[in-house]
């Protein structure tokens, strides 16, 4: 039994504010949700969040791509048990679209927002969102291509920002 107090709501322990650094490196629909859900859970727990989107993960925060993320049905080891699609059949045209449609339905049933809305929600919740500068150069993207509220950042600057943070790589 403990009376309500501010301290009970802080997950920081005695060390000050806890910080979580999430690196999102994949841009398929099934790999986009884990970092977003973890970031949201952290913010809801009062934990500081820094999110770094690199390589294909950039699609999650690229305005033109974020609404159209798909599930890959070939070379994705999770296809068989969950969707029941053997790898060979996964190569049939339309299979990826069907799996993506199915997954979007499941996500909606659980009450989770779509990727663009989820990102907006995270920014509103105070998560800091960064696009990897090197990946952006490689993909010919500029700040204007990324969602509002995000910042372009180099990997070393991200390291400076996340000193002492717990790092999760997805």
């Amino acid at each position: 039994m403990a009376k309500p107090s501010r301290a009970l709501h802080q997950s920081s322990g005695d060390t000050g504010v806890r910080k979580l650094a999430l690196i999102a490196s994949k841009g398929s629909l099934d790999m986009a949700y884990p970092p977003l859900i973890l970031a949201n859970a952290a913010r809801m727990s009062g934990i500081d969040v820094e999110m770094f989107f690199t390589f294909w993960g950039l699609d999650i925060i690229t305005k033109k791509k974020m609404s159209g993320l798909n599930v890959a049905t070939v070379g994705n080891p999770n296809m068989h048990p969950w969707f029941g699609i053997p790898t060979l059949l996964g190569a049939i045209p339309g299979m990826s679209a069907a799996a993506s449609w199915m997954m979007r339905g499941e996500i909606k049933k659980l009450g989770f927002p779509k990727v663009p809305e989820f990102m907006e929600q995270l920014i509103d919740a105070g998560a800091n969102v960064y696009g990897c500068k090197m990946s952006m150069d490689m993909m010919k993207l500029t700040q204007d291509d990324l969602i509002d509220g995000s910042t372009v950042l180099g990997a070393m600057e991200f390291m400076d920002l996340t000193e002492g943070a717990q790092i999760v790589f997805v």
């Binding site: 039994m1 403990a2 309500p4 501010r6 709501h9 859900i37 949201n40 859970a41 809801m44 929600q121």
Partner: protein
């Protein structure tokens, strides 16, 4: 005064009320004071919605549900209840810690 009110209420190890049905607005005010939350009309709107949702669903609403069912935005929720909006709102409303992860 606040301490007297809190002394008469049973809390769990995380400071959430054990018996949601024992909650009164006075207790809500006392918990808010202990959590350093200065209650405004907007806070009350959320707290009352959480109570109402608990009574109909049997569990505290998730943060997303609060922002969908009331006119309080995500941004405002974090401003009203800094440091964990859904759980602090549930705490003040005398409810258990929310378990939803969204």
């Amino acid at each position: 005064m606040t301490q007297d009110i809190l002394n008469a209420v049973a809390f769990d190890d995380e400071g959430f009320m054990v018996e949601a049905s024992a909650w009164t607005e006075e207790i809500g005010k006392a918990i808010a004071e202990a959590l350093e939350v200065d209650l405004s009309d907007r806070h009350w709107l959320v707290v009352k919605y959480a109570r109402q949702e608990f009574e109909s669903q049997g569990e505290p609403p998730t943060l997303r549900r609060i922002t969908q069912e009331t006119d309080v935005s995500m941004k405002e929720m974090y401003q009203l209840f800094p440091g964990g909006p859904a759980k602090i709102a549930a705490n003040i409303a005398g409810l258990q810690k929310p378990t939803g992860c969204i």
